[in-house]
């Protein structure tokens, strides 16, 4: 039990866009279960993962449930720290105003410290 004490938050890194694969959905499931287990959970949206937060998304034509409703449930699970890499947003022509939820913007130079601060880190 030398990994995590009650002050260490779990980090779930989301690097895939919604709809095209199950990475985002299964990554969010780990975040929700972690929170349900009493862990403090922070989310980091990185690379294509920032597209998960684009507002106005629907289920899509493929019959998937979509991850939109899951994102709306995060607050209920006390998952309130949503970190978004500002360069990933800019590279995709997005700004904070395009996003569905309030987020904390961070820069790439902050990432090493962020990873060092969290245990465990789950990468999806």
């Amino acid at each position: 039990m030398n990994n995590a004490d009650s002050t260490t938050a779990l980090l779930v890194v989301l690097r895939h866009a919604p709809h095209g694969s199950s990475w985002l959905r299964e990554g969010l499931d780990v975040a929700l279960v972690g929170a349900a287990f009493g862990q403090t959970v922070d989310l980091l949206f990185l690379g294509d993962g920032v597209q998960a937060l684009i507002k106005g998304q629907q289920q899509g034509p493929l019959g998937q449930k979509g991850t939109h409703p899951t994102l709306d449930m995060l607050a209920m699970y006390d998952i309130e720290t949503l970190l978004v890499d500002v360069e990933s947003l800019a590279q995709r022509g997005l700004t904070e105003a395009d996003l569905q939820l309030p987020v904390t913007l961070i820069t790439a130079s902050q990432l090493p410290h962020l990873f060092a601060q969290h245990t465990p880190v789950f990468n999806f």
């Binding site: 990994n3 299964e26 780990v30 279960v33 465990p120 789950f122």
Partner: protein
């Protein structure tokens, strides 16, 4: 140290399972313990009972089972990720009215909670993804 692995790549499609097994034998050779392997995402296909690779290629499913028998490693498979991909045990098969079951021996279906638990109770959790 007590290690847990998270495997998210399907066998024979990606390198993830091969690398995880090589890492497993390396850490055991160094005197560490591999207590848990958790299979998630497409990694659940590592638990396919009917996998039949060519005889001159490594049998990854049997390699996991050897770890279980020789090291006592728990082989945990996420039930939600597995069921929707068609990897089910006898109990789930009956419950859902399916013919046959597809989970290999020595693997067990479990929830994501066990992954969180593994991260908390082991010294290291190492992820192998495609």
């Amino acid at each position: 140290m007590r290690y847990a692995l998270l495997v998210q790549g399907a066998p024979y499609s990606h390198q993830a399972a091969h690398s995880a097994l090589r890492f497993a034998s390396a850490l055991i050779d160094r005197g560490h313990r591999l207590e848990t392997v958790f299979f998630y995402h497409d990694g659940i296909y590592n638990a396919q009972r009917l996998a039949t690779p060519p005889q001159d290629e490594p049998h990854l499913i049997e390699a996991w089972q050897r770890l279980h028998h020789e090291q006592g490693t728990a082989l945990l498979v996420c039930v939600a990720a597995a069921l929707k991909r068609g990897v089910i045990d006898e109990r789930e098969s009956q419950r859902h009215g399916k013919q046959g079951h597809s989970l290999a021996a020595s693997f067990e279906l479990t929830g994501v909670g066990q992954l969180i638990e593994a991260a908390m109770t082991h010294d290291r959790l190492v992820t192998f993804s495609p």
